[in-house]
Amino acid sequence: MVTSLAQLSERGAGRFPGVVVALTLAFLYGPVLVVGYLSLSPTAQPTIPLDALSVRWYGEIAQSTRFVRALVNSLVIGVAAAVGGTGLGLAGAYTITRSRLSATVRRGLALVIALPLFVPTVVVAFGIGRASAIAGLGFGYLPVILGHLFWVLPFTTFLLAARYAELDDALSAAAADLGANRQTVFRTVTLPLLRPALTASALFAFALSFNEFLITFFLAGSAVTTVPLEIFGKVRIGATAFLNAASVVVLLISAVAAGAASALRKPV
């Protein structure tokens, strides 16, 4: 089929953007696929191409008490950040969009919640580390969990606030007209309608916390280790097949959360 010049210009920028998309996808997923491939190396130092395929490094991961402990820590902290961050985010979203407090208070809250988005993370992390030391909390689980809650709070709050703002006020009025008090309206109307957004928010908070590195780096101390800390420490020593397998495990866990969240998006 001959395409005339006029038709080409009608179609817009020709093939150029489509080519860029294909290259971008290759750029984004190529390295991940390479690491996945190299995690199947039979030797500790993979050579390209691999001589044979083996899953022994996944077995080594399961055997490594240090890595398993880091993984458990990351999961526990991630779940705490998901649940706590979504709960606090719901309170924040309610305050910003629906509460009867003055507009100044609501805007002020939105601003302090948004702080970690605008302040460089290294400053946030260092500041919380110093504040924690001064407050006598030191290092460990509690400061890490608090730091992660603070880190996920803007994401959960603004995600839920967007959905909260979309909720029709008239639905609450209808429920009130039918005899529901404020708490019942919240339980029977608001909460069920926010449920998809709450799930998405919890999944995203989990992923953010599970992948967080710098704040944990400043707050964990020597007693607590998480997967990103563990991998960062090993990367500096050198790339190995063990590290490749560990990376694949980490990527799979967050990809599951991402997949669940994008599956939620369809019905709405």
């Binding site: 029709d168 008239a170 639905l171 009025a173 209808a174 429920a175 009130a176 007209d177 039918l178 005899g179 529901a180 008090n181 019942t184 029977t188 109307v189 069920p192 309608l193």
Partner: protein
């Protein structure tokens, strides 16, 4: 005892009076409509009656009990909202059962009453459907059932038909009327659509700028409006200013820009000589009259034709019906030619008019 008695109701937003000194009484089982142009305060009034908005002044009694300070959930009113606002995460039956559950009706009774309510609105067997899967008319019925199932003393309806097309609106009007009779509930219906209000209601109140300007049975309001505003808002009356030049009992002869018109007077203030006269389009007959004018605009409207006639600077709206055969019912050519040749108003043509009925109305803001 009246189902609803409102006295001196008022509400201001940011210093602007949205509703001022509104008083209303609804008899039990009555279909009452509150109509007016948008922004006249009718929805604000309705929300205060529902308890969704606190009034600044006035009292609201339902069945004799003062409910002014009660929140919406503790009032024997229920509302059908403008956009219906069915709960999207519940089935039809769950929607209808919602109010019963809130007032603690036990589950078996709830089920029976929901089924009855759905039967009443002709939606038997639709209980397990999702509201999103229903047609516009069906959703109307669900909203109605959800409110009616609670046996409200007064059912408040906030322009629920606004979003429907014309044919469906007509059908739903008849349904509302039937359901209102069958359920023996007092309906307070708010709308800007005077046509649907007049066709359904026992009584109508017309609101303007936060206050009620006139009220009464639709027939009375239409044929004998008391104010210029009501005359113009209900139907398309032409209102002309004029001077009274003679009186004969209840009839006054008024000299207007268009010529002399005899008008009946309703109100007491027509002792003044400067008055306004409302003339309905259908009260004007073409031909053999003492007014003459020129057709300046003509429009085909289906079963009738409408023309605007300029009579000495005043513009009168005139209609004439067309019979099924296509010829006009009233023949009205002034040039006396073959009637069959003259079926249409022609712009620029001279016509003579006779005003059969006219009413003196109050001028000003009522």
């Amino acid at each position: 005892m009246s189902a609803l008695a409102v006295e001196g109701l008022g509400k201001a937003f940011a210093g602007e009076h949205a509703v001022e000194d509104v008083s209303l009484t609804l008899e039990r089982g009555e279909f009452f409509s509150l109509i007016g142009p948008s922004g006249c305060g009718k929805t604000t009034t309705l929300r205060m009656l529902a308890g969704l908005l606190d009034p600044d002044s006035g009292t609201i009694r339902i069945d004799g009990t003062d409910v002014t300070d009660r929140p919406a959930r503790n009032r024997a009113t229920n509302m059908v909202f403008q956009d219906l606002v069915l709960f999207p995460h519940m089935t039809v039956a769950e929607n209808v059962a919602y109010g019963l559950a809130r007032s603690g009706v036990p589950k078996p009774e709830r089920q029976t009453r929901v089924a009855e309510a759905l039967d009443l609105v002709d939606l038997g067997g639709f209980g397990e459907r999702d509201p999103a899967d229903l047609s516009g008319g069906q959703r109307q019925r669900v909203a109605l059932a959800r409110a009616l199932v609670n046996d409200p003393e007064v059912l408040l309806l906030d322009e629920p038909l606004a979003s429907l097309d014309r044919a469906l609106r007509g059908e739903m009007q008849r349904e509302f009327r039937r359901i209102q009779r069958d359920s023996e509930t007092t309906f307070l219906y708010v709308t800007h659509d005077q046509e649907s209000a007049m066709s359904m209601s026992d009584r109508v109140a017309v609101m303007r700028a936060g206050g009620i300007v006139d009220r009464g049975p639709p027939r009375r309001l239409y044929s004998r409006p008391r104010t210029r505003f009501v005359a113009e808002f209900l139907g398309d009356a032409t209102v002309l200013d004029g001077e009274v030049v003679g009186r004969n009992g209840e009839t006054a002869v008024v000299e207007t820009q268009a010529g002399r018109v005899s008008a009946t007077s309703e109100t007491a203030n027509d002792h003044s000589d400067s008055v306004a006269v409302a003339i309905r389009p259908e009260a004007v007959t073409l031909g053999d009259g003492d007014l003459t004018g020129e057709v300046v605009d003509a429009a085909y409207k289906g079963f009738y034709e409408e023309a605007t006639v300029d009579c000495g600077g005043a513009r009168l709206t005139v209609r004439r019906e067309r019979s099924a055969g296509g010829s006009t019912v009233q023949e009205a050519s002034t040039d006396g030619g073959d009637p069959s040749r003259d079926r249409r108003f022609r712009v620029g043509k001279s016509v003579s008019l006779r005003v059969d009925r006219a009413v003196l109305v109050e001028d000003g803001d009522g």
